[in-house]
Each structure stands twice: as C-alpha cells, then as structure tokens.
C-alpha cells in the first residue's frame, strides 16, 4: 500500500504505519512526534486532495 501510494506520487514521509500496544505510551508519544515532525517538514499536501467542485 505504502509502496503504491509513493509510486503514484505521495511523498515518502507523509504516510506512516506503526503498531503500538495500549501499554506502550512512550512509543505512542515518540511515533506521534516523529509523524508530526516529518509531515510538517513536507508542508501542506497539494496532491490527492479533492477540491470543491467549481460551479460555473
């Protein structure tokens, strides 16, 4: 899935997968922070975003 999404042009770093148990609070914090950091670095997504239909 990640491979194909990145193949069609979604930037690596925008999509993350992780497996976190409910007992792994620190891991959750770490992963959430990394995701936030990496996505922020990429800036707002412009691709694969549906815009409101333009009505003439």
């Amino acid at each position: 899935m990640k491979g194909l999404l990145e193949h069609v042009g979604v930037e690596p770093g925008r999509l993350h997968f992780s497996w976190i148990s409910s007992a792994e609070a620190t891991k959750f914090v770490d992963v959430a922070n990394t995701v936030a950091k990496e996505v922020k670095a990429l800036g707002p997504a412009r691709y694969f975003i549906k815009k409101r239909a333009e009505v003439a």
């Binding site: 491979g3 999404l5 691709y47 694969f48 975003i49």
Partner: protein
C-alpha cells in the same frame, strides 16, 4: 496461430458430444476486424463459430466465476494463470473444468495497427505466420507481428499454459532476457512531483466507464466499491482525485492476483495504460514475496498468509 481454430473446434465438438462439458468457452470472430469476442457454445453443431487468432486479448476467466456446471475453456498462458487464481479463490472447482491449453505467441495490439495505417478503416486482416496483412478499401499493407505485440505480451515470460487437461500444440519457447518492469523502474526513479505529474497525465483522459474493471477476471465482487453509494467510498464524477482513487484502489484490489493479461488496457476506450498501477504491485510482490500470481495451486497468495519473516520495514 490460425491453425488452432480447427483444433479448438474439433476439441469443443468432441467434449460437447461426449458430454464431458455442458458448455465450452472460447473466442468468436468479432463483427469488426481485430475485435474477437468471447463465445460460449453448448450445442456441438455450433462449434464452427469458435475462432482463434492473434486478437484474442480478452480474458475468458471472467465467465467462469461461480459457475456450477462443467465448462470447457480455452486457455493461453495468462488465461490459465487466471484460472489458477480463480480456483485458489474458490470461484470455481478444478474438477468442473476441462482446460484446453494453447501455447501463445502474444496478441497483437489493435491500437498499434490502427496507428500504423493512420486510423484508416480496416476491412480485413490476414495472418500468415510471423506477418499479417491489413486490408482496407484503398490500401493493403504487410506488417511484422513481432513489432505489433501488446505491451504486456512483449515482456511476457509465461506464454505456455500452466494448467491444462489437453494441449493443442507444442509448447512454445518462453522469452528470456526481457525486463518486464522497465517502465515501472523509470517511474520509480522520478521524484514525487514528477510522479504526480506522470499519473495525473496518465489518467486525465479517463471517463470512468469502468471497462477495465469489467474486463478484469479478478473483479468479481457482487457490488464494486465504486458502485456503492451507502457508504459512497469514492466520488463518481471524473474529478481527477476521484479518478486517481478509483485506479489506485482497483489496482490495489489486484495486488498479488494480477497476471498482467492486459485485458484492462485492451478494452480501454481512451487507451489509458492502467497497467502502470498493477505492474508496480506485481513488481513489489515479486521482490518482497517472490510471488507471481497463478503459477501453482499449492501455494496461498501473499496477502492471504502470514509468515514471521514477511516484509516489515514500513512499520515503525
């Protein structure tokens, strides 16, 4: 190639007369040149409508799904692999089938032929071994078959059927030294922005007719996700994002199942190369799971099994 027509007719007649099968699925000559159509025969006296040449690019497996009778079917390399996939996915049982194997030398790309004659109307095509003659009202041209193969046939490495009850010709030599994933590698080397441009342009002509889905033997869901409206998974207009979502998800549903038979591209009225999506998944399956769809009945497909050493790098 043409020599198979008679053999197919003979075999179908015999199977139907001996009541080994209730119906026989093959190809019939289409109403216009280069457009052979699927044909199902159940009357032994009507087998003369069966036909075979290098324009049998549709996948007959579509007509096997959930059948309960005994069926004879014509199968070349990729069709036979789809039959295997169908059996693995419990869409039909092996003992219901009588598979008539045909070693295949590739199908001709009808669009390439149309381009070669500058889109003039073709009235007749005759094949003689490695060449074929295209006739129209005011022209006649001879082409080499080799140069007009469908793009998936040009890089095919499974021309011989993998499963059959009877073979109608000698096995052909498999192609070696072809690199099937050259185009995928080219896209992989692009940066995200270039990829976005590539795929946006690729699907820009799509009219969402779903011909690719209908021609695909893997797409047998009772209701396709694009047709559902409660919930509506994806928009139905030709909005570029919706269209990309459709192509992306259609391809993903074929992950580890696609045999690269090329039926989707063949039927596309707009000539879109949607195999760019499925081929990437085929390549991943090959690299990560050493898997090619439909080669054996004894192994479960990669998305169906768990192995402790499965590819795991994307999970943190």
């Amino acid at each position: 190639m043409l020599r198979y027509t008679e053999k197919i007719q003979e075999t179908a007649k015999r199977l139907l007369q001996e009541k080994r099968v209730d119906a026989f699925i093959g190809y019939g000559k289409g109403s216009v040149p280069m457009m052979n159509q699927p044909l199902m025969v159940s009357d032994p006296d009507r087998v003369d409508r069966l036909y075979w040449d290098n324009f049998c690019g549709l996948n007959l497996c579509n007509y096997l799904t959930k059948r309960t009778d005994k069926v004879g079917i014509v199968a070349n390399g990729c069709n036979s692999r789809n039959i295997v996939t169908h059996i693995i996915e419990n869409q039909i049982k092996r003992d219901q089938l009588y598979i008539v194997g045909i070693p295949c030398e590739g199908m001709i790309d009808h669009r390439a032929v149309m381009r070669a004659v500058k889109q003039k109307e073709i009235l007749d095509i005759q094949q003689n071994g490695k060449t074929f003659v295209v006739k129209g009202a005011d022209f006649e041209e001879t082409f080499e078959k080799e140069k007009f193969l469908q793009s998936n046939c040009a890089v095919c490495i499974h021309r011989n059927p993998v499963i059959y009850d009877e073979l109608l010709g000698d096995l052909v030599e498999e192609q070696t030294g072809v690199s099937p994933y050259q185009d995928v590698e080219k896209v992989e080397a692009m940066d995200p922005e270039k990829k976005q441009g590539f795929f946006t342009r690729l699907i820009s002509r799509c009219i969402r007719c779903y011909a690719c889905r209908n021609a695909c033997p893997l797409c047998y869901c009772p209701t396709c996700f694009v047709d559902e409206s409660r919930p509506q998974w994806v928009g139905k207009s030709s909005d570029p994002t919706d269209t990309l979502t459709f192509h992306f998800l259609r391809a993903y549903h074929c992950a580890g199942r696609c045999t690269d038979c090329g039926a989707c591209e063949r039927v596309c009225p707009m000539g879109i190369s949607m195999r760019q999506f499925t081929k990437k998944l085929n390549k991943d399956c090959q690299e990560l799971f050493s898997w090619e769809a439909g080669l054996t009945l004894d192994q479960r497909p990669p998305l169906d099994v768990y192995r402790p050493d499965d590819y795991n790098d994307f999970i943190k």
